[in-house]
């Protein structure tokens, strides 16, 4: 059997349609061409057999145990997800504590650096400026004047000493504070207080001393 190729192509697209819904030209051809008619009827019957074979196949029915298996797997999935979330939460708390520690450490390192090298950019006035006109001067009748340095008063104004660095938390304290403990939130509160305290101490240490008023001759 060799159906006409063009009709075969069109009929393939029309398999889902009933005989009555075929285009008039196609129906006319089927009436006139026995080979195409035979092919068309065999193909439609093949479709019926194939559909029937799948619906009649008892092996395609899900076994009764399948639904229970899937429910049990969903339960396990929920337990695993819960455990995973719990682990992720504690890991996040631990990371938060480490991050807070690093911030504190960076702040302290900056404070130490600034305390030893001055505070560039803030105020160029030296902390200890000699005030020359505090020294006694003698004006001679013949002209000229001398300055008695030996009898001069201490021209260097007193500058308050910076607070001792020993007051700040040690590295050991910070590392201990960052270690995962039962309630990381307590650590975070403690670390926050430490940051604020350090910042205040640093601000006091770096405040420039008041320069004495300058006098001119």
């Amino acid at each position: 059997m060799k159906p006409c190729p063009e009709i075969q192509l069109r009929l393939n697209d029309l398999l889902d349609a009933g005989e009555s819904k075929l285009p008039v030209a196609v129906r006319a051809h089927l009436d006139a061409c026995p080979e195409c008619r035979a092919w068309w009827e065999q193909t439609r019957e093949t479709e019926n057999v194939l559909r029937e074979s799948t619906s009649a196949d008892a092996e395609r029915k899900a076994p009764a145990s399948l639904e229970g298996r899937i429910r049990a797997a969903l339960e396990r999935e929920a337990v695993v997800a819960s455990e995973r979330n719990s682990k992720t939460g504690s890991r996040r708390r631990w990371l938060a504590a480490v991050a807070a520690t690093l911030v504190v450490a960076a702040g302290i390192a900056t404070a130490v650096f600034l305390s030893r090298s001055g505070s560039p950019g803030r105020d160029s006035t030296p902390l200890r400026a000699p005030i020359v006109d505090e020294y006694p001067e003698t004006v001679h009748p013949g002209g000229g004047k001398t300055t008695d340095v030996a009898q001069g008063t201490d021209a260097f104004p007193a500058v308050a000493a910076p607070p001792s660095l020993a007051a700040l938390p040690s590295w050991g304290d910070l590392i201990l504070a960052a270690a995962p403990v039962e309630d990381a939130r307590q650590d975070l509160r403690w670390l926050t207080r430490a940051v604020v305290s350090n910042a205040e101490s640093a601000a006091r240490a770096f405040a420039p001393a008041d320069a004495p008023p300058s006098r001119t001759n």
């Binding site: 393939n12 697209d13 889902d16 009827e41 065999q42 193909t43 439609r44 019957e45 093949t46 479709e47 057999v49 194939l50 559909r51 029937e52 074979s53 799948t54 619906s55 009649a56 196949d57 092996e59 395609r60 029915k61 899900a62 076994p63 009764a64 145990s65 399948l66 639904e67 298996r69 899937i70 429910r71 797997a73 969903l74 339960e75 999935e77 929920a78």
Partner: protein
């Protein structure tokens, strides 16, 4: 047996668990609830709502897996894995879209992956070459088919010889009664290529059924 109309307008049937088990009570309270509502609840973490969807679609999912894998044990594993993937992917699924094509797409992917692994394994073992699609070469049983039942059994044995991809296409077309466009979306293949593949499959079966010596009358 429970019947419900899904979002495609198709009537789904599900076996209700017997007795007074929690599952039975959960399902009996969900008869008539739409897939959309069940999907919304399942997205909120309601496992019972998802369990009702499992009951509604387990036959379709298992049948698709079995059509491709031809093994009861593998088909059960694939069906279970498919529902688990659907459960995990609910956040990404739009509940207003039909569930059936989505779960069929998942199970087709799962089963074809399992089958391709199995094929690699077999080829490595060099014990059996199942890569050739030998279906449709002959249907000797058809000629001697004393009744329709025998004929259908013979067709069933022939479909077992289809390649995994053709088995998926065959099942979606004749088992699920889907159009080429719907199958194209599920298998992610061009409609034209699928139409050609389906024509070849059908011709093999037609020749086997009606070829010389096979006297099946339409």
């Amino acid at each position: 047996m429970v019947e419900s109309v899904n979002t495609l307008g198709r009537v789904d049937t599900a076996v209700v668990p017997a007795g007074d088990s929690p599952e039975a009570r959960a399902v009996s309270g969900e008869i008539g609830v739409s897939d959309i509502e069940l999907l919304r609840r399942a997205r909120g973490g309601d496992r019972d709502a998802f369990g009702v969807l499992v009951l509604r679609y387990q036959d379709a999912v298992y049948a698709a897996a079995w059509a491709i894998l031809k093994s009861r044990e593998d088909a059960e594993d694939a069906a279970q894995e498919s529902f688990l993937r659907a459960w995990r992917g609910l956040d990404r699924f739009d509940p207003t879209r039909p569930f059936r094509p989505w779960i069929l797409r998942i199970v087709a992917n799962v089963a074809l992956t399992v089958r391709s692994r199995r094929r690699i394994h077999v080829e490595l073992d060099e014990t059996l070459d199942v890569s050739d699609d030998r279906a449709g070469g002959d249907l000797p049983a058809a000629a001697a088919a004393a009744n329709r039942r025998e004929l259908l059994d013979a067709v069933g044995r022939m479909t077992a010889e289809l390649s995994p991809e053709n088995a998926a296409l065959f099942h979606l077309r004749y088992g699920e009664d889907l159009s080429i466009d719907e199958i194209s979306r599920i298998l992610d293949r061009r409609p034209g290529a699928l139409a050609v593949a389906l024509h070849r499959i059908r011709e093999r079966f037609r020749r086997a059924l009606f070829g010389p010596g096979n006297g099946v009358e339409p």
